[in-house]
Amino acid sequence: MTGMRAARPSVTLPLAYLASATLAFVLAAVATPWLAPELAGHYYHPRVLALTHSITLGWITLTIMGASFQLIPIVLARPLWSERLAWWQLGLMIVGVVGMIGHFFIGAWSGLVWAAALVALAVGAHLVNVALTVRGLQRWTFTARMVTMALAGLGLTTVVGFVLGLDKIFRFLPGALFANLHAHVHLALLGWVLPMMIGVAARVYPMFLLAPEPAGWPGRVQLWGVGLGAPAVALGLCGVPGLLVAGTVSVAAAVTGHLAWILTMVRSRKRPALDTGLRLVLTGALALSLAAVLGVALAFDLVAGPRVALAYATLALGGWVSLTIAGMLLKIVPFLVWYRAYAPWAGRAPVPALAELSCARGERLASRLLSAGIVALAVALWIGDPAWIRVAGSVVAAGALALAATLARVLTHLRRRAPRAADALAVRTA
């Protein structure tokens, strides 16, 4: 039995990451209609690369890092090794990501490499911090294995991305430019984001859906499917076609296992009504199934070309990852704010329920605009019409602004700081 004095989990640290990430999402979404002409062309355009990295690094990676600092203590039942290192990491990430986006935008490759080096330092700090947090972990659950796999994927993606940046200057990499670029993209998507999302989902979705934790064969399929499939796809894209097909089948099996678990949890949930956050998460899962079908079609050469690739990337990064993250933010941010502002009152005075911190109407508006806008954007990118891209991008931008406004409203509760314990007790006694 353990009974040691517990370290207070930081609330401001994950909130700082999540606020920075949301800002990056808003900026990327607002830039989308503005970049419609570039998006109607080939994706290998400096401004499209700037937009992509503002989503992948600024929005997705910063969110996962910030959420990790809240969720790791919960799912792995241990405090973060160093909060100070995590703050340094945030500073490095912000400067590095802003530098990368700026240099991508103007096509300045030496500046890009310097900025990428800062991001690599931040990623290194994250890996060290999490590795030292989980060291000595006795029970390697499905989630712990998947998170570890994801962190390995993050490290590899960062190294490959940095090397690609150096190659822009020194031209030393063998193989075709697009093959290496596609390998980098899929290492990030399948090696970093996919295992992190499905690993955390297995532990966190039951908590929110009030469902039993999933178990059985889908877990093994996901572990082996991602563990073998992600590197096989990356190597396959670098020039081993047999590996690409095998890896794609393997990853598709993992995605099927993940979706099977979600379906099981939804069916066995005790919470009768789904709130907006959970609806967004489930819409994200639907987008994942569409992206997976399109990804398989691309791997088997049933469809091809930059237009389909952009639609695939939009369904994966915008539909699956972004909608899932937006849904989780609507759960995580109110909890963190509630904990900071009201937990000291709990048991001593009436405290508001979690749902009372947010604005249900704002949540629904953000959810509908984002869901509709991202699907429309995928279709518009496939068609390649700048006018339709601009319209769909504007809907996404409106959704991102609605999401940010809803989260900002939740943050206003931080101003209602909890009183000291003695004050709270005095209130109760009175």
Binding site: M1, T2, G3, R5, A6, A7, R8, P9, P73, I74, V75, A77, P79, M207, F208, L210, E213, K270, R271, P272, A273, L274, D275, F335, W338, Y339, A343, P344, A346, G347, R348, P350, V351, P352, A353, L354, A355, A421, R428
Partner: protein
């Protein structure tokens, strides 16, 4: 099938009823715990909370029991329950249930924390509260430390975390 789960205690009819119906809240996915606790806190000594719920609110028995409330339960239909919560006579120290148990499994965050802290409000010095949880409540521990409670955690079986919380007798 309908009827009382236990015989109706004498004197209940003499109390003034304060009715709270949470069936619509639960069907809409809204968490009614705060509303119930706010009503309980405002109850006068001669009042009883009469709760209507679509299921038997078993976890509430421990929460309100630790705050000095007794309950009497009627099952009106299979998904319609009426529970009377009324203040019990102050128990003698020797008769007090010094080791209450609170099961917070299956509750969404932060309800487990709220219920535990509500329950601790009525914990006497030297008494303990055993909490049954699905995971180690990492955000609850600092609250317990700050309020001066002792706590010890173990995992008697996979998926079950047991936290024994005590109010020091010397307090």
């Amino acid at each position: 099938m309908s009827g009382a789960v236990t015989p109706k205690p004498p004197g209940l009819e003499a109390l003034r009823r304060v009715d709270v119906d949470v069936r619509d809240d639960i069907r809409a996915g809204r968490e009614p715990f705060q509303r119930i606790m706010a009503t309980v806190k405002a109850l006068a000594p001669d009042e009883a909370l009469v709760l209507r719920a679509p299921f038997e609110p078993v976890p509430l028995y421990a929460v309100l029991g630790a705050a000095g409330f007794r309950h009497w339960t009627e099952r009106l239909t299979v998904d319609d329950w009426r529970v009377w919560f009324h203040r019990s006579e102050a128990p003698e120290p020797a008769q007090r249930d010094a080791d209450a148990t609170l099961d917070v499994r299956g509750l969404p965050p932060p309800e487990p924390m709220v219920r535990v802290l509500e329950c601790l409000d009525g914990l006497a010095p030297g008494d303990t509260l055993t909490v049954l949880h699905e995971r180690r409540p990492m955000f609850l521990y600092p609250q317990l430390d700050e309020r001066g409670f002792t706590h010890a955690t173990d995992e008697p079986e996979p998926g079950l975390v047991r936290i024994v919380i005590g109010r020091p007798a010397t307090e």
